[in-house]
Symmetry: D3
Subunit: 208 residues, 6 copies
């Protein structure tokens, strides 16, 4: 229903400011970077090697090594350590939470992760746009419904909500992990929005 | 920050149901199509020729020719007829409104239109995710702020809101057009969400 | 509990501006009317003949004949064409939706329609004020609950909501019609609020 | 735009249940009335004489004389005692607050009061439907904006809101009265909604 | 997890303005007190004798004796007269409602009342912070859920909500009392917030 | 206005379950504790020594040492490391955020911290109940307004909000710290609410 031919680039996409949305020199609040610790130097190297780039959130935290270290430790434990949730499920929670909070940075970066981990570009779009439109198995639907309620009205989460997770097959430890991932992105969404953090533009084209 | 390598396809992305999200045989409520009128036959042919496919919203309306005809007439007038708003601006309003309403169908179809018309894939993502994160000129910012307020709390729109549009350079006729496009997608978002309308999956990869 | 005797007219009801609320010369955005097409001339004539007046929404759209034509075609199909919903039920949806959106124009015009079609002035007031206070049969209650949810949180409409309509006896086609009428008034409410559209004051006294 | 001719009465307006909306024998929770005290007997007599009927809210409170007495004392002081606000202004606050809370009882009863006191039926409809659509002088607009904010988000009322009232010419005592009337209807709206209180149907036709 | 030792008093707790939060000379809007009627003189004396102080809300109303009298009569009837609800339950409703409305005055004064009447300081904190976190018997949970819904979205209270109270063992009269107490604090919360009413600081330390 | 004398303990405060609200054997989801690492053993010892107890949040995280370690590292850096914000200001943000989210655990634990660090019990109550009722200097008001908006509607935070912080004297680094503390408690609030985490009851009486 849309016109198929591209219009000439609008002024704000001129080569001169092609990266107006992302990748500007100021990633977040323009805090001067601190020297990387050897650990973080190694970690950034691993990012370059595996991903081809250093995620901007890491650069944004680089003004202070203890803050960067704490963020990386918590992130990697939550998203990569053994859990009853698959890595894809954790990324699905990340994106569904970021969608409730409309966090541009996290939707771009973790939307790409859902596409890549699932091999299903449409699933990534569904998590970004409205997880309720996705045709998911009941387990994943229950997981995302809990995460979305916890995000939108945490005060209203009660035993019945935990029971719904148990009924969908989740253990107490799984419930913790759902809560912890949802909680983490409620933090990250707010740090990113508060500081106007811009994602690496390379994410946009990944795994489409 | 995401693992770069794709995990094996999760169960719900098996080739057998790869199109679980979209393109299922049931596009909306599975109403039996009526015979196309000659006008609509010609219009569908034009879609095939120009876009390569018939947008699913048109198929969804095809159970009743008067309804299809009225929808097409209003859509084409609003989005394509001469206006003080560019076609891209009208599509930006469409997506920003659909983002407030979290309408999967319209975000997919009109997100693609913003990417194609602007030649700027990032702009499409910004409209889908949070127009406030986009670095727009004041005119477009004012236009989207008005459309978003009109969508979220129409009862609170007052003279000061119209004045903000005038201050940004919009004429009375432009204000009508902003209102009419925003209004139209408030309608379409609801018809699509109420009927579980699924977008053509071809949109996802367009103009990335 | 109110004092029965009318106070002297407050300043803003002086004869000089007695129609401050409605019927001012500026109905919406004061766009200059275009010459009516013969079709629209005939239609306006029919309005004068049947209603005694031309509804202001039609005058508001008269700055552009294609827009007026598309609006009239869609409106008449939705509200008057054969449907599993009675004309009264469609007007009840119109008013319940307009009540969620607090649209002055549509509440006045379609509140009058509910009063007239039902022969029940109280039913009109109930739809304007809070449909949940009305003592309706379950079918109509389900229909309005769906329309109100679709209006207030379209993103949250899921299969369970459609199933509730089926359980109340509605067919797939009926569900489309409920969605389409609710969607249409979500559009019209916003066009009216955005443009400060004023209803014909004759509606106020009709069918009381 | 509505069909002018009334349809035959829908089933729920059959003579047999013509008063389905109001005036049923059960006004609220069907609590057995207590014997009226002489004071209340006199007061009810005065209502009959002046209004032609006893407002149902008084009948609803009649199960307990101390509760009835306290309600009547507070109501009459707030709405009728000398104040910097006119009686009409107090009724306008009553209706604007009841509109935010969508209280059927209070909108019916006090909407009629606004129509009667102002001699302007349209003003009554505007207060019921959306006070922001009314063309009010700045003083009354400020008064209603304060009352509406106090109703919808009382926690957010701050010095700047009180200052806006002072800037519109209200004294400290006037601010109290605005707050007290708005507060009172936030109470009454909830008692009425919680107990399914039904208004006397005579209100509907008054002062149209 | 907090540092145990108190930091030196921050600037805004200097002896000079130690009572910055409460007990300032201006309790509400600084309206000049009227001479107390003999009844109210006696009542204030009784407060001094029983509580050791006159609650600031009474001082705030003292600019006008009829208003003070009506408030005291309604308050004492609601909170102290015989009812199927215990005095503690009525105070629990008061605090849960005031928590939804975030009313500083009422949370301080009635939080203290819950602590004192229950002999359970933790119960007071739970009512202030989030009643859903309290481990209550089903009857009290149902009572508070009704009061909270009535406060937050009075328009949505329907028969099913009243039935839930009946199912929890409440009579029609009990339902009235729950509604009336919840309604009263929806009034008082707004009068207090609108007038910046400050509680007596003595409440803070009571019954900890 | 409350009865001064305590009623006999209500049933749910029987000695047998006096700690019904807190300090039950199940702190959160009843996950079996893992052996503490030497670092965490030392840290818990330091808590016992300095606070007299181990905060329940630490016990709740003790089922997994990497998760406990990451939480402690991030918490201590945010709340105790050098910053342009005082420790009290960081605790004020913690409580104001937890108030928006109505998190029982965090309001209890960090409300106590505000009381202790400020030496001002009333300030703690104000942060718990409604920071807008506190009479704060403009700098702290701006800081809390930003944190509250970031909590309630993170998507709406824009440059104007950051500018308001700069205008109140905050540096870019200070803005980061406000965002990071607010973000952290948006995480912790949700982990606590999702897992029904119970605070140590000792907090309730601290620094009153």
């Amino acid at each position: 229903m849309r016109a198929a031919q591209a219009a000439p680039r609008a002024k704000h996409q001129d080569p001169a400011d092609a990266a107006a949305g992302d990748d500007t020199e100021i990633i977040a609040l323009d805090l001067p970077p601190a020297p990387l610790t050897p650990d973080m130097q190694a970690y950034f190297g691993k990012c370059e090697e595996k991903l081809g780039f250093v995620p901007n959130v890491l650069k944004a935290y680089s003004f202070d090594m203890p803050k960067l270290g704490a963020f990386v430790a918590m992130y990697n434990d939550l998203m990569l350590a053994p859990s009853g949730l698959t890595k894809l499920e954790r990324e699905m929670i990340a994106v569904a939470v970021s969608s409730v909070n409309r966090c541009y940075y996290c939707l771009v970066a973790h939307g790409a992760a859902v596409r890549a981990l699932s091999g299903d570009p449409v699933l990534g779009e569904l998590m970004v746009m409205n997880f309720r439109a996705a045709r998911l198995e009941p387990r994943q639907r229950a997981m995302l419904a809990f995460a979305a309620k916890l995000t939108a009205e945490p005060w209203a989460v009660e035993d019945a909500d935990r029971q719904a997770l148990r009924d969908a097959g989740f253990s107490a430890r799984d419930i913790w992990d759902i809560a912890a991932v949802a909680g983490f992105f409620n933090m990250s969404n707010r740090v990113a929005s508060a500081t106007d953090m811009r994602p690496n533009s390379v994410y946009h084209g990944q795994a489409r």
